[in-house]
């Protein structure tokens, strides 16, 4: 780059030698290109180093961390209030600044605390706590503005109580700038208590602070206030266990923990003696050669197994409490897709406030260890397989990294503060495969709306006034019509004067649109006051009053479906390898035409505001297929098929047959097929459901006096 600039600036002086300079110039050009390539290479291969060396945030801990000396008599917080609940000890008004129903979390900067003699209060920050704070700082929850924060996280590492000086740590907490008896402060601890009695919650006095703790028991856990979190297993990051398909595995039951109380070990070994090969009980290895990581090996007699890989060989894995209730083994077991059998009385399972552990684990009281085998045997295979999948999913979503644990904890607290915006049970618990395949029908309540409500007819029109008036007159004869809405889609012409419109017994309203768009017919107009909508074209004059009234009655019995007259079908074209639109009179239907169809008003809202991708614009641009789009939309959200009513097969009026040439028909079919393929690709699936039935009145074509039938004039093809 520089070379070429120089060269050209020097140009005038070189004029006499120009001829010989040709070559030089080429060389210069090549060198420029070469330089460019070189630079590309540099940036391609050293991006990290460039980023890292320029990163403002990388700091040397020893140089950057200020030291805080704690006087011996500096205040110690109260022990911790067992009666604390969100409405008594948490100040929600500090969360008032938080937009989008998301709490803001502040992290105190790192300091080194020393006692009066200069001895450090704790060892340096652990790898996991460093990771945890980095995860919070990288998340949407983070704020650096202490005055706007709702939740405060100290940078004092409390993950393991073992490494702490209790009193001095508490003093360090108390002098945090916004401590205020610990209100809205969140402390993380995974290994609470210490010998000999191993308390189930952190022993550091912490007053009103919330505790995210691993290993809570019912006695220490403040329901709805504290958060029970997993004990992170460092093996999660070290060992990659690929997901294994569900099903029975080599061992039915495995016990792999090393520190088990001798009494419990005896009981489990008794199970092994009774059931033989199906049960495997492992212990630590006594005769390993030097240099082998003992934490990654387990032994049964003289047989050596790799841990945690051996967990993948078992269907059920025992997770017994040790001195602590929370065990890192739970994480390993879940990672292996082994169903944990949790034997730890009064243990509050991790994230049990939101996670449904019944779907992923079996909890057995300690006094029933001897019955474990028979309890597990009674679980049907399908349930066991679901538990295996669920166990693995819990690990992937909430256990596998410190980041996952931190974010789940914050989400739980967030859900408590904004309960109306909380994540649903399904979102917490359903594995992605279930979320993908399941349908949650927006109109799930089984009920038949009252007939008295009636329906609103919406006629989309452009300028066919004569035909429109006929449609209005015909539709107004339907007993359950409660209102008629004309959507005037012509911006260049005014609708006829009021006096010219047909006089009908129900209110008639005209809505003028801003643009001539097909999607205007599916807009959720405020004027629609009924749940039921009849969309009808301005040339549909062949439907009888009985036919329309019956259509409304059918809609009442299926209010979550599209109820229409002529049915259509989609087919897979094996030659072309794509979908095809079929209007032949087949034995099956998967769509109904919306030239005349009843449906719930809510689908207008969905069509206008929730249509996936660019379908809505695509329909407006092509002036076609709005009905197919509606069929896709409704089938996709409800998972249900349309209902075709009565024998009606086509809408064509007898007098307009002349304009329908064969060629027109064929172009039409090609376009409609294109629509189906386009929509299927946008939806990512084919939501349409094929059925072989249509709805007729109960006595249709039955040998019964016509005059006694409710709907005698049901129309023809």
């Amino acid at each position: 780059m520089c070379a070429s600039v120089k060269h050209s600036s020097r140009g005038p002086a070189l004029i006499p030698r120009m001829k010989t300079k040709h070559r030089i110039y080429y060389v210069a050009l090549f060198s420029v290109v070469l330089l460019g390539l070189l630079a590309t290479g540099v940036f391609q291969f050293w991006p990290h180093s460039i980023e890292a060396s320029g990163d403002w945030a990388v700091e040397k801990r020893s140089a950057a961390v200020p030291v805080v000396r704690l006087p011996r008599d500096s205040p110690v917080p109260e022990r911790g209030d067992l009666s604390c609940r969100m409405h008594t000890c948490f100040d929600v008004y500090r969360c008032g600044f938080n937009p989008k129903n998301k709490i803001k979390v502040y992290i105190y900067s790192l300091k080194k605390y020393v006692d009066e003699l200069g001895a450090p209060v704790s060892s340096t920050i652990s790898r996991e706590y460093n990771e945890l704070l980095a995860a919070i700082a990288d998340s949407d929850y983070y704020t650096d503005d202490i005055s706007r924060a709702c939740l405060f996280v100290p940078s004092i590492d409390l993950l393991s109580q073992h490494a702490l000086r209790i009193r001095e740590t508490a003093q360090a907490l108390a002098q945090l700038s916004r401590w205020d008896r610990g209100t809205n402060h969140l402390l993380f601890n995974m290994l609470p208590g210490g010998p000999p009695d191993y308390n189930t919650a952190l022993d550091v006095p912490r007053d009103r602070a919330l505790l995210a703790g691993g290993g809570f028991s019912t006695w220490t856990y403040r329901q709805g206030y504290d958060v029970s979190i997993p004990v992170y297993s460092p093996l999660s990051a070290e060992v990659a266990l690929p997901e294994k398909g569900p099903g029975p595995r080599r061992y039915f039951l495995l016990s792999s923990q090393m520190a088990i109380h001798p009494e419990y070990r005896e009981e489990i070994e008794a199970l092994q003696a009774k059931h033989g090969e199906a049960v495997l009980v492992l212990d630590k290895c006594t005769n390993l050669s030097e240099g082998v990581l003992s934490i990654r090996k387990r032994c049964h007699k003289h047989q050596v197994f790799d841990y945690p890989q051996v967990l993948q060989e078992a269907t059920f894995c025992v997770v017994l409490r040790g001195a602590r209730l929370g065990q890192a083994a739970l994480s390993d077991v879940l990672q292996a897709g082994c169903v944990p059998v949790i034997i730890a009385d009064s243990y509050i399972l991790p994230f049990s406030e939101v996670l449904d552990w019944k779907r992923a684990s079996v909890v057995v009281p300690e006094e029933k260890i001897a019955d474990v085998y028979s309890i597990l045997q009674s679980i049907p295979r399908r349930q066991m397989e679901e538990m295996q999948r669920q166990a693995r999913w819990f690990w992937e979503a909430y256990f596998q990294s410190i980041k996952a644990i931190a974010l789940a904890t914050l989400q739980i607290i967030n859900d408590r503060i904004y309960p109306y915006a909380a994540i649903s049970y399904e979102e917490w618990n359903d594995p992605p495969a279930v979320k993908w395949s399941s349908v949650s029908n927006p109109l799930f309540l089984p009920l038949i709306p009252p007939q008295s409500q009636g329906f609103t007819a919406i006629v989309l029109t452009y300028d066919r006034v004569e035909s429109l008036f006929r449609v209005i007159t015909e539709v107004s004869k339907v007993p359950s019509l409660s209102k008629l809405l004309v959507v005037w889609n012509n911006q260049n012409k005014n609708p006829p004067e009021d006096s010219l419109w047909p006089k009908i017994r129900v209110p008639l309203k005209v809505v003028r649109t801003a643009e001539n768009k097909l999607s205007n017919r599916f807009f959720p107009y405020d004027e629609i006051e009924t749940e039921a909508v009849l969309a009808i074209d301005d040339d549909i004059i062949m439907l009888t009053s009985d036919e329309l009234q019956f259509g409304y009655e059918v809609w009442r019995e299926f209010p979550d479906r599209l109820v229409g007259y002529p049915g259509r079908l989609h087919l897979w074209d094996h030659e072309m390898n794509k979908w095809k639109y079929e209007s032949e009179w087949t034995n099956e239907v998967s769509m109904v035409l919306t030239g005349a169809a009843f449906y719930h008003k809510y689908f207008n809202y969905l069509y206008t505001y929730k249509m996936p991708g660019d379908i809505k614009n695509w329909v407006d641009a092509h002036m076609n297929c709005e009905d197919i789009a509606m069929n896709f939309l409704v089938a996709n959200v409800t998972g249900k098929a349309v209902i075709k009513v009565t024998p009606r097969k086509k809408f064509k009026c007898p007098e307009c047959t002349a304009i329908d040439g064969l060629s027109l028909d064929q172009t039409h079919m090609v376009e409609r097929s294109e629509c189906i393929n386009k929509f299927a690709s946008v939806f990512g699936t084919m939501p349409l459901k094929v059925v072989e039935h249509r709805a007729d009145p109960v006595l249709y074509k039955d040998d019964f006096p016509e005059k006694l039938k409710s709907f005698p004039n049901i129309g023809s093809l």
Binding site: G36, D157, A163, M190, A259, F550, Y602, L717
Partner: protein, 638 residues
């Protein structure tokens, strides 16, 4: 000149090459520069240089945790399920509840509660087989807490029902007994052990109860968005859909003095804010915040919440019986542990009282949850042919049914006095003959031999063609939770007799299908046998015509929807009618033993049947098109 021309050429060339290189460079420059935060960027957690050298929080050299503590002894308020309840006493039959002698009804509400318990399938009159003892705490709010009843045993395996919050101040006094009460205090309530009840009004009905008031999925926008409950049963409303009406006093309206009937005092609002017991000065501010939050709420969520309130009300709250049965079901779930109701069964229609956990724990085994599970019912059915006393050999019927491509097996339930015929027709599907007990309710027993989701229930004298069977089954697959049948009855309100009646006459509507020929899910056999009160099953055995009514009641109570009628060819109707076993006209007084419909309405607490005005036909049914096009031709034979 030439030089100049050349020079300009070179100049142009070099300029363009300069441009190219610069253009080529810029993306890289941008890539390298942009991740650098601006100096003013917020300060996150620093990326420490020594991260790699940090040690893990759990050190392997930590002392091994091999000294477990003995479980702490249960004390007072800190009971949990595993410690304070002895499940070993419930082994075998599962939950069995005995109403304690001390629980003498002292009021109408107590009487209803005890009657609900006695109607439960978990009730026992035998103290020795009980694993849960049911104690009603005195109704009188200032009544003495009374001496402990017999067999109290520290309250172990006792359930104390308290209708009023805390008549006895010390919760610890109840020791290891579970407490079910309305508005429990958060500091004495033991999650997973105690049960929180709704506050039961004095007039709460014993059985059935009014359905939810929502008659449609999304009613008109209500007058008010939010109503705030105030002292003395009054409501204050705020906010409308159409305008962003602030909580500034202008939109408030006092809805008048205290009114006693609940339906009158309920405000016309989308949301109702019901503050807890503590009245705080900040309530005004909270209401304002709630209002702001509700205005942001997506319509889809409002729609879902509104429907869920109606489902929960109808499934668990609308009567004393439902509240008590729900309480027992919660305890039964705790006893079952791993095989308890999954969350989905509690929280979606028809609810846990109608979805028996003893049937299966996998939601896809039930007829109700295929959509949520992304599953579908099996593509085959089992024909269950009931041979009664006066029936002939169902030879033709077996052949017609076996001809269906969807038929997996045929089961013959021989309930006749006649000896079993020695020869059975050769069929392509397995045929099993079972000996029945000569009771009509037998035909709805959940036989383990039934291997498919769908059952085609048949009477020996029924006559069906293979086409009819095929089409009906294909329809059933779209509606696996409903009954799909050929012949129908309709119920009606008889003004003259002030009671319900039913008729087999051809009509424009129907609400029942005959089980002499109907498809339904095998789950309904379990529901029939295990959830119906014994009195109803006995009634059906005494009056065989009642069994159809009963089955239709049961399915309608679960689905809240009508059954489905499919076409049935006339030719059979003349030859061997699917015998309507009731008098043709319903308006005539029926013999008392046949007046089962009113007894069932009394037992169910309401009329569950729903009428339908449609029949599902094949798409080309009786259309004037070539018969060659039609898949179900035989259906149309005159």
């Amino acid at each position: 000149m030439q030089f100049w021309r050349r020079r300009s050429l070179w100049l142009a060339l070099s300029a363009s090459s300069l441009l190219l290189t610069l253009l080529g460079f810029f993306p890289f420059l941008r890539l390298a520069v942009s991740p650098r935060p601006q100096p003013a960027a917020p300060q996150g957690w620093p990326r420490w240089l020594d991260t790699a050298s940090l040690r893990s929080f759990s050190q392997p050299e930590e002392p091994p945790e091999d000294v477990p503590q003995p479980p702490q002894a249960p004390h007072g308020t800190s009971c949990s399920w595993g410690i304070c309840f002895d499940t070993s006493r419930c082994r075998g039959d599962g939950l069995k509840v005995f109403a304690h002698a001390a629980a003498q009804p002292t009021s109408e509400m107590h009487r209803r509660i005890l009657a609900s318990l006695e109607g439960s399938r978990y009730h026992t009159r035998n103290l020795t087989e009980a694993c849960l003892l049911f104690v009603l705490s005195p109704e009188d709010p200032d009544g003495q807490c009374g001496p402990a009843p017999q067999h109290w045993n520290g309250g172990r395996n006792h359930l104390v029902i308290r209708l009023h919050p805390d008549p006895c101040p010390q919760a610890s006094q109840l020791g290891q007994a579970m407490v079910a009460q309305a508005s429990p205090r958060v500091d004495t309530f033991r999650p997973g052990f105690d049960v929180a009840l709704p506050l039961l009004p004095e007039a709460h009905p014993f059985r059935g109860g009014a359905p939810g008031q929502l008659q449609q999925h999304s009613p008109h926008p209500r007058a008010a968005l939010l109503a705030l409950a105030e002292e003395g049963g009054r409501w204050r409303t705020a906010g409308t859909y159409s305008s962003t009406c602030p909580w500034d006093g202008h939109c408030e309206q006092d809805l008048g003095p205290k009114q006693t009937r609940p339906e009158e005092k309920l405000p016309n609002a989308t949301f109702c804010l019901i503050p807890g017991q503590r009245a705080e000065a900040s309530r005004f501010l909270q209401a304002l915040q709630v209002l702001a939050a509700l205005q942001e709420m997506a319509p889809a969520r409002v729609l879902a919440l509104r429907q869920q309130t109606q489902f929960l009300w109808a499934a668990y709250f609308s009567s004393v019986e439902k509240v008590i049965h729900t309480t027992l079901e919660i305890i039964q779930d705790r006893i079952l542990g791993a095989s308890a109701h999954p969350s989905l069964l509690w929280n979606s229609p028809p609810g846990a009282l109608l979805a028996l956990s003893t049937f299966s724990r996998s939601p896809q085994d039930f007829p109700f949850y295929h959509l949520q599970q992304g599953s579908r019912p099996e593509g085959r059915f089992s024909a269950l042919i009931w041979v009664g006393t006066s029936s002939q050999h169902p030879l033709k019927l077996i052949q017609a049914v076996a001809g269906s491509q969807h038929c997996a097996q045929i089961l013959v339930l021989w309930s006749s006095e006649k000896p079993l015929p020695p020869k059975w027709p050769e069929t392509t599907v397995p045929l099993t003959v079972m000996d029945g007990h000569r009771k009509v309710s037998d035909r709805f027993f959940p036989y383990s031999a039934i291997s498919t989701d769908a059952i085609l229930s048949l009477d020996a004298h029924s006559s069906l063609s293979t086409s009819e069977v095929d089409f009906a089954f294909v329809v059933w697959q779209s509606f696996p939770e409903r009954m799909v049948g050929f012949l129908t009855w309709n119920h009606f309100w008889d003004e003259t007799r002030s009671g319900w009646g039913y008729t087999a006459e051809m009509a424009n509507e129907f609400s029942m299908v005959l089980t002499a020929a109907a498809f339904y899910h095998r789950y309904y056999h379990s529901l029939f046998t295990h959830s119906l009160p014994k009195a109803l099953r006995t009634l059906a055995d005494e009056a065989p015509a009642c069994v159809d009514v009963l089955m239709n009641f049961l399915v309608a109570a679960a689905t809240k929807l009508p059954p489905i009628k499919v076409p049935f060819s006339k030719q059979h109707q003349g030859a061997a009618p699917l015998a309507p076993r009731i008098p043709a006209s319903g308006s005539q007084p029926q013999p008392p033993h046949q007046d089962c419909i009113n007894r069932m309405v009394a037992e169910f607490g309401h009329m569950p049947l729903v009428s339908s005005r449609l029949r599902l036909d094949p798409v080309l049914f009786k259309d004037p098109v070539s018969v060659q096009r039609k898949k179900y031709r035989r259906l149309e034979k005159p």
